[in-house]
Point group: C2
Chain length 561, copies 2
């Protein structure tokens, strides 16, 4: 699989929430020769605007576009310098970015927050992905789209997120019409950065599709629909979101002379169309096409996969042609709480004696509980849980659902519950795997990244519950590596890169860090437990209204005295 | 209700697990004039026999009959002395005792453990109620009775306990045939004590009915059935459990001259037929007949009530004519874990931060959680539980059932769970109340005793959930007081006692310690929550096999590595 060092290199730039990371990767061997991280000077802006000091509301989260470009410059120079690579050997640059991180700019691409007359207006600034203040707008979009049975809604599992471009732009129109009027573009940060580097304003299919409601053949939501939301929104996409939509890794253009100078690179260095950070990690974890399901496991889990056709799988949060790799349909699904449930339990449900034992052993409660839970055979806890502590965002798409635990006895111990919670999230992933398979998109194996992959107990349970190999990606910086692969693709073989993403992925992916194989002896028990899980899943998710009643009574209850 | 001081007094003797208590009570005013407790010298014998040092097996628990009589003598003399009452003013003596605490004696009533040749044999000793080593015999009784559809089985909810006389006697026959052969009587400790005091060997209807399978018209289980268990058991009741069965409070006879001397009382002092301690507490809490349901709330809850007819209510653990008060049918039901569930949660499910806060405030975690839970309105927790941590011993009679908790969110706090667990046990009591009512035995109100009555949050939830007044009995020693009431009944009005138990209870019951009244504003919410509880109850208790499957998988799981 792994070719020899090519003498050519790609840069991957990974724009995260707090910092930007640059890696310099050998396009032949995949070896990472240089890495640099630059923290954003202003970090996440969630209290006051820089300069004016304008206070921000609850749920607000902004970024400073200058941070991106300064960070890009410094991290790139440092990584290239550290690598010892001749800048002329840089074959291409790829970029991944958080999404949907959206900013308004004027026609030339200047962020409106850089205009003196608007700099004190929070709506002129880039809204970071985790800006959640547009929830009312998202709710109204969902209500209206559902009422009108908008055809695109099903591609997003029946509801869109407040994090996406449309609610964020609508919030600007509602709360700061002068900013909305001044905005020639609402654009993803990823696309804005590549625009700065190349002078080409385009939209990456990943961001446009997964966060912008774009479809390769059907385009954006209709002007008619948008106008029913708000007359000002009618032309949002046609007038304020221009730019060709291109697959990640497409060659956008060479570096501008100015940016070639600032980065110390050749002016003809190709820049790839960017992608979303999670989606870049799919590539950086060795997946270039249909088959494996990629899990980014943290507080929640995001599931990404590719297929050669578009199917409306129940529970998908998005399906986008060219959304992950050109030529394939990218699929996204999700579990709304995973690590969050384990953290909830560790914070709220583990007694003092365990805390003291963990402290005495200088380890975390997660480690202590995992060690004890790992010693239990499947079924030994006597427990079964439904992992809906934050609702269900997969096949049931219902935020009113809640958690369930059954089987407690007086002999039940915290490690029994911990294991049941881990198993429940694994069953939740298996439901998604089964939904893909049932719709003609079989899953060949699981590949995992994210913070939870540090927990070998959790990983083994996932392999056992899903009855499939679970591979831990070899790169600790899979997003940045995936971005570098896109850079190598944009470069093409002629420049020392690759002509297909498959070639890039095959050449540049390091060996897995670890592969967890399912214990065959556990399969029969887990089949029975999974059947029980499915029974509870349908019972509480579809047939009985108990969870809904409990939520209604909770919402109606008098506040604390 | 409360008459004036009569100048006549009754002694109540309460034989508990660790000690015997004596009270001297004014039969007119109910005032307790003297109280004394004597701890048994040998306590609970569960490791080695006194004298011989013979080691005991697991689940064994014995007592020393000498402890009872010594304790009786000393506690009586001390209580009478403390009271300042002229011994000639003692109108009668009543007794309650733990049950089923069973001993083998010879024909004269001498305990076999006092025979030199048998003193080193554990089976010659009184088996305390909590001796659980006869579980195999109990299982076989249940299997055989169920197979043969024995008519008495339904009166005990379809299964008998290992604590009762039949399995305990069978264990003797199996493991120590020489003791079994030497036993002229297997007798409840209560009946043995009154035999010693009066020279009359009788059986109290409470012990005989609730623990000995006796029925006023149908008698004991048939010789045919007993013989199928074991040919030696055929004559168990006819030959080794002789003695007229009499209602508690019946006059058995006067004190023997010997015991009159030892106690310093008149030789003609009437001795009442005894009763079981829990059943004495019903009387001592002011209940003399049908209407109220009495709850003894501790680690588990025992429900006792009276009615004027015999009905086979689903979920009853026993129904016995004259079993609590003469002339009425006594009913017993139970929840197998109540305080045990709260203790389980406090031990296993409450985080360090709460433990530290409780310590800082010098109070228990129960107090801290109760205070916080009490501030929540009904429904505010968003949670609902099934209280089956130790199976269900009421209307479902199924030990394979287990606990369930539904409604958890990331915002769920320990006090939410604590409240849900308290509510679940209250719903469990309401199911029993409803089962009585549905069978023509309406419950007028709740009267509670036992350790859990100290927790005002728990008590208020019970009143609210059941929609009924909940009265906390006024006497802190309700069993001993109830025994004194039986003594007053045995004395009769002519001696300064009472001619009916109703009169004795009315005259001698102190005012309630507290009455919890249901909040009318909470009733609608609790109706909805109770409907959900009933839905879960039927779903997991009757319709779905998930809990059974989980138990099977747990039992089949490999042991811990």
């Amino acid at each position: 699989m792994h070719a020899q060092a090519s003498g050519a290199f790609a840069i991957g730039l990974d724009f995260g929430t707090e910092s930007v990371r640059a890696v310099v990767v050998d396009t032949g061997s995949g070896e990472t020769r240089g890495t640099a991280i630059h923290r954003y000077e202003h970090g996440v802006i969630d209290a006051r605007l820089p300069g004016s000091g304008t206070p921000l509301g609850a749920e607000w989260a902004l970024q400073h576009p200058g941070d991106w470009m300064n960070g890009l410059e410094r991290a790139t120079r440092q990584a290239v310098g550290e690598s010892g690579v001749d800048p002329r050997a840089i074959a291409g640059i790829g970029i991944d970015f958080t999404a949907s991180t959206v900013l308004p700019t004027d026609a030339s691409g200047t962020p409106l927050c850089e205009r003196k007359d608007l700099a004190a207006n929070p709506h002129a600034w880039p809204k970071l992905w985790k800006h959640h203040a547009a929830q009312p707008e998202a709710d109204r979009v969902n209500d209206a789209a559902s009422r009108r049975a908008e055809p695109w809604l099903a591609r997003y599992g029946g509801r869109i997120s407040s994090e996406w471009l449309l609610p964020k732009a609508w919030q600007v129109a509602e709360e700061a019409p002068e900013v909305y009027d001044a905005a020639a573009h609402f654009i993803e940060g990823a696309d804005w950065v590549t625009w700065q580097l190349t002078g080409v304003c385009a939209r990456n299919a990943c961001g446009a599709g997964f966060k912008g409601l774009w479809h390769k053949r059907e385009g954006y939501p209709s002007r008619a629909f948008l106008s029913t939301l708000d007359p000002r929104l009618g032309g949002l996409y046609e007038e304020r979101a221009q730019g060709e939509v291109v697959a990640p890794g497409s060659r956008l253009g060479p570096l501008t002379t100015e940016w070639a100078g600032r980065l110390g690179l050749n002016p003809d260095t190709p820049i790839a169309a960017p992608t979303i950070d999670a989606h870049a990690a799919v590539l950086g974890s060795g997946i270039a096409g249909p088959g494996p399901l990629f899990l980014i496991m943290g507080t929640s889990t995001c599931h990404l996969a590719m297929a050669d056709r578009e199917v409306l799988v129940p529970g998908i949060a998005g399906v986008v042609e060219d959304g992950i790799a050109p030529g394939y349909y990218g699929y996204e699904a999700g579990q709304s709480a995973v690590g969050d449930i384990f953290a909830w339990f560790v914070t709220h449900g583990v007694p003092e004696a365990y805390a003291e034992e963990a402290k005495a052993g200088s380890r975390s409660l997660h480690d202590l509980l995992s060690e004890r839970a790992a010693r239990l055979a499947p079924g030994a806890s006597g427990l079964l849980a439904l992992d809906w502590w934050n609702g269900n965002r997969s096949t049931l798409m219902n935020a009113d659902l809640s958690g369930l635990l059954v089987g407690m006895r007086l002999s039940t111990k915290p490690e029994h519950i911990y294991r049941a919670l881990v198993e429940a999230t694994a069953f939740g992933t298996r439901v998604i795997v089964d939904a893909f398979a049932a719709n003609g998109l079989p899953v060949s194996g699981l590949v995992a990244g994210g913070g939870l992959t540090q927990n070998s107990h959790v990983m083994q349970v996932y392999a056992d519950v899903c009855g499939r190999d679970l591979t831990i990606a070899g790169s600790p910086q899979a997003s940045a590596l995936g971005a570098a692969m896109l850079g190598a693709l944009a470069a093409g073989r002629g420049r020392g890169g690759h002509d297909t993403l498959l070639d890039a992925v095959n050449a540049m992916t390091p060996p897995p860090a670890r592969v967890y194989r399912p214990h065959t002896a556990y399969q029969a028990t887990y089949e029975e437990l999974y059947a029980c899980y499915r029974e509870l899943y349908d019972l509480f998710g579809r047939e009985r209204a108990i969870m809904k009643t409990l939520k209604r009574l909770r919402d109606a209850a008098a506040p604390l005295a």
